[in-house]
């Protein structure tokens, strides 16, 4: 029953692929954050400054 404690172990190959996938997802997420930010600025335009003080 010693195996039970170890649980699922990934091979090196699987770890490498999982890591590459995680990095790619991170890059996509960061790119989307930048895109959403810039699109928001463009959509609001000068309205960004137009607020009640």
């Amino acid at each position: 029953m010693a195996d039970q404690d170890k649980g699922i172990t990934l091979t090196d190959e699987q770890k490498k692929k999982r890591r590459a996938r995680s990095v790619a997802i991170a890059v996509v997420l960061v790119a989307l954050v930048v895109l959403f930010y810039v699109v928001t600025i463009i959509k609001l335009g000068p309205g960004v400054m137009d607020r009640a003080l």
Binding site: D3, I8, L10, Q14, K17, R18, V39, I42, K43
Partner: protein
């Protein structure tokens, strides 16, 4: 517990590229191209980044429908040689992952197109995904030999969505762009199906050559080509493309009809196969040229 471990080791860890493959990148590139044409032909100025974002999410919506299509069609993709290496039949991505991926991307792309462009365009994209996945993939693809005609409609919507992203509406011009792809799709795919119908027979997909026979398919190809020709020239006739487009599209359309007539005449053996291949290859060039000309003219006009 050891069982779980060994089963897990047999499951290949999916790579990022496997998920990209679920989006059907080659179909996506066509979506980008035609949606961009629709967006730029529209007579309304648009901020370049809003244009970029709109095209990005229209393409992503197209990709999402590709993933949902692969989820639903995994059973027949396993049988056909052309599709056997897709991520699900190859065992790289599970069906559940493809379903979740497709649904999530559908939602993101529709909402983002709505926010970046307008909600009419967002709703149009949602309808296109619905049409391609539910009406075409789930319902009609396996039940009618006119499946290509229905699927073609879904493939023809992107330029209309591009136009709608800028104008917020539908118009005769954008409908003509739709009609060009709609009329082009059947002869394009049937020419291919005449050469490769063995695969479809094995997968029990009722392609026209399998169900109605090759003669009927040849008649269909010729009729659709004759209908396509005036539609291809229509942008010039309706005055939203230049005489240069008029001349070029006339020559291209005449060639298309001539090649379709060749397919219709040559019924057997290698000459018949060669004629089908020629029409199939030219059809790709034909559609590319029409949209490239429209795109080029709107870019020149924009300067």
């Amino acid at each position: 517990m050891t069982d779980t471990t060994s089963v897990f080791e047999k499951t290949p860890e999916a790579e990022f590229g496997d998920f990209v493959a679920l989006l059907k990148p080659r179909v996506m590139s066509l979506v980008v191209f035609t949606a961009l044409t629709g967006l730029l032909v529209a007579p309304v100025p648009v901020h370049p980044l809003v244009a970029f974002t709109s095209i990005l999410f229209i393409a992503l919506g197209g990709g999402a429908s590709g993933a949902l299509n692969m989820w639903w069609d995994a059973d027949i993709d396993r049988i056909m040689r052309r599709t056997r290496n897709r991520p699900i039949p190859a065992g790289k991505v599970t069906e559940g992952e493809a379903l979740g991926f497709g649904l999530a991307l559908s939602g993101i792309s529709v909402v983002m197109l709505g926010l970046a462009a307008n909600w009419f365009a967002g709703a149009f994209l949602a309808f296109t995904i619905f049409f391609y996945v539910i009406v075409y993939t789930m319902w009609l693809k396996r039940s009618t030999p006119q499946n290509i005609v229905i699927g073609g409609a879904a493939g023809a919507f992107p330029p209309m969505i591009g136009w709608a992203a800028v104008t917020g509406s539908v118009s005769l011009e954008s409908f003509v762009l739709f009609l060009i792809i709609f009329m082009w799709t059947p002869p394009h795919f049937w020419a291919l199906a005449l050469v490769k119908n063995g695969d479809y027979t094995a997968a029990k997909v009722p392609m026209l050559p399998v169900v109605a026979g090759e003669t009927s398919t040849r008649n269909h190809i010729l009729v659709y080509s004759l209908l396509l020709a005036p539609v291809g020239v229509a942008p010039w006739l309706l005055g939203f493309a230049s005489p240069v487009y008029g001349v070029a599209s006339s020559l291209l359309s005449l060639t298309f009809v001539a090649l379709a007539a060749d397919v219709w005449r040559k019924r057997a053996g290698d000459p018949a196969k060669a004629a089908c291949w020629r029409l199939f290859k030219f059809s790709i060039f034909y559609l590319f040229m029409l949209f490239a000309l429209l795109l080029g003219e709107s870019l020149v006009a924009g300067i």
